[in-house]
Symmetry: C2
Subunit: 321 residues, 2 copies
């Protein structure tokens, strides 16, 4: 990952990675230090949480979520993991194995939910039944169960592994449509409100190349494969677009995201508050919703009555998120 | 430009152009009608000007500026042309020929300025002397002289041929940096203020493919070649990026620009007003400026004292605008 013969900026030892956006190369130890500092800076700058808080980290078995869990535990935060079995064929089976192995080896607490076992459906079936793109049903299911697990377990904040590449790509998508409500909510921290837990993204200052390097150096085994349904979606296309811009002009990706947070997000604060509105409790599960039944309970109702749909039938029906 | 055998949406005659963003094909006459309607809509929606106003149209000899001048004259507006000889080698010589021929053939009034003859410098020399990118010195010179010509001639508004591709590319550049002051000023109309004339962009709803088709159908001879200094600048790269997005998702380019104007620009209105500030008159030329001498007079002072620099020496020193 580094040019042959290049040296660490901090200690002049042989470098293992070059980071054009920092205009520097780093050895393994100083790459870890850079990651730790960027994460601490995000936690501090955006007032995410303290060491007294109980955190629930959504983990998928991929590099980002395992990296953030590892970083938080290493730094002394109280962080449990949360995993949802989505029923996306071999992909889900493998992702669960990686997560459980990570937790077991470190003696960490892992909260798990399985869509098929616990709610009688899976993502391919939900996608087929709702005729919506699979990424939409998947995102909604994960958010709902994550929020619920945080409430049920009395956690102070939930944490996701969204990195700079993810956030910049979502931002590009929102900007291309100028969806003000979405833009106003695209923050590294969303405060608790209306029964939803506080949501934090400590990796927003790290690229996926950096989180991959973290895992490599720390010996974290993660699922490299991307979700087979998401492959080719717009989110990945936006990532490619930003990577091309970054290659032409290093650090443009972080400028795009961080300048948005610094310069624009404050101007949109009112728009977010205005959009929040009043919510009531879902009649079935008690979750906050604008309807009688929340979107998750409606999805469960429809999907659990349907016979299971094999993942192969929904490949290529990718969504934009 | 159209698929063989395709038919005009309006009259079913053979089509000469297909426009995926409108999901339609058009014959020559109905393509002209579409252009006229989009221009009238921009003029009306953004309250640009009326037929009582005297307009000064900046023309470069390229398709967009000649198209907008032609459209305005055809629609009955009082529109004179304004051309600046920039001294960019053969490119400038040819561009001047196209502009003068267009005006002569139609009996239109053309106001001209020549940087070398009238101010003792040219763009290659200015770029060399100021050590700034040539596009920066060029843009500043053109804006200054355009504003001055409008004041001197008592025009009610100045008009440029910026099209949807131009505006979307500038918007992308501004968004990537989240430069709020630039974003707040990126409007299809800037009202007159502090001695600056009202500025209007009637082509913001038309792509460059559409303005090229207008010229082709109307028999307007224009300079196809782009400025040799600007070739490869970031602006063109942003255009390519948006063209890729447009190809993947037709009408995303117009959504990006027009949703910005509709959804975001109103939220930025205060930022623009705040940035306007108070100006005084340039001691030398009387133009509004924040300094004693305006940027143009400072440029003239430096550049006119320097021996002329051939254009070849500044090729590849492109800028971002």
């Amino acid at each position: 990952m580094a040019t042959s013969g290049s040296k660490c900026r901090a200690c002049k030892a042989p470098a293992v990675i070059d980071l054009p956006r920092h205009n520097a190369n780093f050895c393994a130890e100083h790459l870890l230090q850079l990651c730790r500092r960027q994460v601490e800076k995000a936690i501090d700058d955006y007032e995410m949480f303290s060491k007294d808080d109980r955190l629930l980290v959504a983990v998928s078995g991929g590099k980002d979520s395992l990296a953030v869990w590892d970083m938080l535990v290493e730094a002394g935060y109280q962080a449990d993991g949360f995993y949802v079995g989505l029923g996306i064929g071999d992909y889900s089976d493998e992702s669960g194995d990686y997560v459980r192995r990570f937790a077991d080896e470190r003696g960490l607490t892992l909260v798990t939910v399985d869509l098929r076992d616990d709610y009688g459906y899976d993502i391919p079936t939900a996608a087929k039944v709702t005729k919506r793109v699979p990424c939409s049903a998947c995102g909604m299911s994960k958010r709902h169960l994550f929020d619920k697990a945080a409430r049920d377990g009395g956690y102070d904040a939930v944490v996701t592994g969204h990195n700079l590449d993810d956030e910049a790509a979502v931002l590009l998508g929102n900007v291309l449509r100028w969806d003000i409500e979405y833009l106003a909510r695209q923050l590294p921290v969303l405060p608790a409100r209306n029964g939803f837990p506080k949501k934090c993204k400590p990796l927003v200052r790290l690229t996926e190349r950096e989180t991959a390097a973290w895992c490599l150096i720390r010996g974290i085994d993660y699922l490299v494969e991307e979700c087979p349904i998401a492959a080719g979606n717009r989110h990945l296309y936006y990532k490619d677009t930003l990577n091309s811009l970054e290659q032409k002009s290093p650090s443009s990706k972080s400028a795009f995201y961080l300048n948005f947070i610094d310069n624009m997000a404050p101007l949109l604060a009112d728009q977010s508050a205005a959009a929040a509105g009043e919510l009531n409790d879902c009649e079935r599960c008690g979750s906050p919703t604008t309807n009688e039944l929340c979107a998750f309970c409606r999805l469960v109702e429809k999907s659990s009555a349907h016979e299971p749909v094999p993942v192969e039938l929904v490949l290529g029906k990718r969504g934009r998120s």
